[in-house]
């Protein structure tokens, strides 16, 4: 059986040849008002994002140390060459990608399960359930990082004692002394904290799936899994992709958890930490800016892949297209 649901063209949108529609006076006035209302915020956004980005681009072309302001030297793309030919950068990139992929995949699965529970929950419990699920997301990342660190710490932690029946876990296991176990705790903390976010985005998507489609599929004899895979998921593709995109961007910029738990020890350095260590720790503004610019390019690349290749439509995810 195949229940293919076509996405309806949003009302008012012209189909066929794309062309600039003739706008009425009222539409123009509304557009002008829109610009007036959004303009100041737009200018502020430019000032706080575009300016630092351009400054970082400029700084990345210099050998510039904050404690030697007079020794600034133009090196062109020299900093980029240093960064891109260094094993440390590539290992940080790999670790960052690993954390991103692992956390986003697990969060998506768990988030979906939570969203379904919240969606189907009895009305009287819905509010309590949503609040309870949101609690981890409301906690400041540094605080949750410390909480997870102390949970697993060999001296103050309880995990080793509670779970010593699990093979491999014993009171002598130092979670933060090897790469694998450190990354496990970092990812677990990340997943615990941000799954609520992804589940909320998915819940919004679930709410947009027309119930009549599900009912029609049910009448046609579709099993639960068939309804899920062929009706629900295709109808909330936009919400899923937006959730994945937002989380992937967030996860790629991971900093707090690694900084608090290992500070990059045992091969857990991520790109943000490397940029921080170079710019803020070593005060090498030039080299650090080059890493930041590369990090920025990676983020742009992820956005590009998501929006162009997977065709994420940010507007339809917010329900604007309907």
């Amino acid at each position: 059986m195949s229940t293919h649901v076509e996405t309806r063209a949003p009302a008012g949108q012209r189909t066929g040849r794309p062309g600039r529609p003739v706008r009425s006076d009222r539409a123009r006035a509304e557009a002008r008002l829109g610009w007036l209302l959004a303009g100041p915020a737009f200018v502020v956004m430019l000032a706080v994002t575009l300016y630092p980005i351009l400054q970082a681009l400029y700084d990345s072309l210099f050998q510039y140390r904050l404690t030697a302001p007079d020794d600034q030297k133009f090196v062109g793309l020299g900093n980029y060459q240093t960064v891109l030919t260094d094993q440390v950068f590539w290992s940080a990139l790999l670790v960052t990608l690993l954390i991103t992929v692992v956390t986003v995949v697990i969060e998506l699965i768990l988030g979906f399960a939570l969203a379904l529970v919240m969606h189907r929950a009895i009305t009287s419990l819905r509010g309590v359930l949503r609040t309870a699920i949101l609690v981890p997301y409301g906690i400041i990342t540094v605080v949750s990082a410390f909480a997870w660190f102390y949970m697993f710490d060999i001296q103050s932690g309880f995990v080793n004692h509670w779970f010593d029946w699990v093979p491999g876990i014993s009171p002598d296991l130092n979670w933060f002394a090897q790469q694998g176990t450190s990354l496990f705790v970092i990812c677990a903390s990340e997943i615990w904290k941000t799954t609520p976010f992804i589940s909320l985005l998915l819940l919004a998507g679930l709410a947009q799936v027309p119930t009549e489609l599900e009912e029609a599929a049910e009448v046609d004899g579709a099993t639960w899994w068939q309804r899920f895979a062929r009706v629900i998921v295709p109808n909330m593709k936009a919400a899923i992709m937006v959730a994945v995109l937002f989380r992937a961007l967030d996860a790629f910029r991971i900093f707090d958890n690694v900084f608090i738990m290992t500070n990059g020890a045992n091969g857990t350095t991520v790109l943000s930490l490397l940029a921080y260590r170079t710019s803020i720790g070593r005060l090498e503004i030039g080299l650090g800016s080059a890493i930041s610019v590369l990090l920025f390019l990676c983020v742009i690349l992820i956005c590009f892949i998501a929006i162009k290749l997977f065709k994420v439509d940010l507007a339809s995810a917010r329900g604007e297209g309907r």
Partner: protein
């Protein structure tokens, strides 16, 4: 009418704070950026404000907890010419980095003379850059060898006569006990490596005043190999415990206080902390009686150790509006009485030898004489403007302790740090 009144009210509300600023009178308020402690520096600030008799007031601002973060904040503020920094508590290794670009106001000759009298040599060396005193020595810290008398006795050792690293490693191993050392990837690891290299007769940096691309490292040497041998041995044979790769000063103190505690190298704060634990009932009463102290272990038998040197010196910000008052205040802060008070109450040893005669200090620190001797023997960490690179580079290559190999680690770390200093490698 109502609208005009509203405009006037808003205008007044906006201007009132400005008027308050312009009309500020009275003594200048000096801001003293302090490292977190048990309230001692805030108390001294209060005392000196009173002693100034209206000439200035001292307000304290707390810096982050660890030395590296303190340095980051101060360096960034000073690079931005922050005039709010009047006095700052500086960790000695970072003094050259701030002195070199002129971030510290020059110490007037008379002040330099006054604050150098009766001060231990280590503290003076640590506050000096290119043969000039650039900061005012406040308190001077050093690590001692702390030991459980029962364990030393069972091993037939008398640490007060001097012991070697090999002896304490063997003693701990034989009795299935743990050594308290700092193996975490942090500044404390650099402190340990430096003390071992210096005790073996070497130096991490041979020419500390050189520019970044000319710095010559002394790690790939006999002394570096001996240091690597000791750290690698403790890391691999389990005498450091499972917590070694993440053990900082506090963690090693907890290990030492536990049932498997034997020997520990650590700062004197452990004495007041252990006593506080006993008083609070979290530690057994007889623990304190079982703890002894001695000079840091040596690397070679018969040769003196060069214990770690730490502490705090006071720098005066070059961009402060009140440099003269700040130096006056700094002189008050480091007064013998204040140093003795600070040592007795906060557990941080004085840099002025006269403070050790204070009865309060003698009562709180039965080991005061050993601390003073250790301070005279102590070797500071490399005094270079590139200390951060050297220290972080060491931590990258000497961590975890179990991976340290005398045949490869000193050479690798030497090459790595040199490449980082030349801008050829990332850290």
């Amino acid at each position: 009418m109502r609208r005009r009144a509203l405009t006037a009210a808003i205008g007044l509300a906006l201007l009132a704070p400005l008027a308050a600023c312009s009309g500020e009178s009275g003594p200048p308020t000096l801001t003293w950026y302090i490292n977190p402690d048990d309230g001692g520096q805030a108390e001294i600030a209060q005392r000196c404000t009173e002693a100034a008799d209206g000439a200035y007031r001292i307000a304290t601002e707390v810096l982050p907890r660890d030395a590296a973060s303190q340095r980051e904040q101060l360096a960034r503020r000073l690079a931005a010419k922050d005039s709010s920094i009047d006095i700052m508590s500086l960790d000695p290794p970072f003094i050259p980095e701030l002195a070199e670009p002129g971030f510290l106001a020059p110490v007037p000759d008379d002040v330099a003379q006054a604050v150098s009298a009766d001060v231990v040599q280590g503290a003076l060396d640590a506050s000096t850059w290119k043969d000039k005193l650039v900061a005012v020595p406040f308190w001077a810290n050093t690590q001692l060898l702390w030991y459980r008398k029962s364990v030393a006795e069972a091993a037939g050792l008398d640490p007060s006569e001097g012991v070697t690293w090999q002896q304490i490693i063997d003693a701990a191993k034989d009795q299935d006990k743990l050594l308290g050392v700092q193996g975490a990837k942090a500044e404390s690891l650099t402190v340990w490596v430096n003390a071992l290299v210096e005790s073996a007769g070497g130096h991490i940096v041979e020419n500390p005043e050189a520019s970044a691309d000319e710095v010559k490292l002394g790690l790939d040497s006999e002394a570096g190999k001996k240091a690597a041998d000791i750290i690698g041995q403790i890391g691999r044979d389990g005498t450091g415990g499972a917590g070694l790769p993440t053990a900082d000063e506090n963690a090693s103190m907890v290990t030492f206080q536990g049932d498997r505690g034997s020997f520990m190298v650590n700062w004197p704060f452990v004495w007041s902390a252990t006593n506080a634990g006993v008083e609070a009932g979290t530690l057994p009463k007889d623990l304190v009686d079982d703890i002894g102290w001695a000079i840091y272990p040596s690397v070679e038998e018969g040769e003196d150790a060069r214990p770690p040197y730490g502490g705090i010196s006071l720098g005066v910000g070059a961009f402060s509006n009140y440099v003269d008052q700040a130096y006056e205040a700094a002189q008050c802060i480091v007064g013998v009485d204040n140093q003795a008070f600070y040592m007795a109450t906060n557990g941080n040893p004085a840099s002025n030898t006269k403070a050790y005669d204070d009865p309060q200090v003698k009562e709180a620190f039965p080991m005061a004489d050993v601390i003073r001797q250790s301070l005279e023997q102590a070797a500071p960490r490399p005094q270079t403007p590139y200390y951060n690179e050297v220290s972080t580079g060491l931590q990258e290559t000497w961590h975890p302790p179990a991976s340290v190999n005398p045949d490869t680690t000193p050479k690798e770390s030497s090459e790595f740090i040199t490449a980082v200093l030349r801008g050829e490698a990332l850290l």
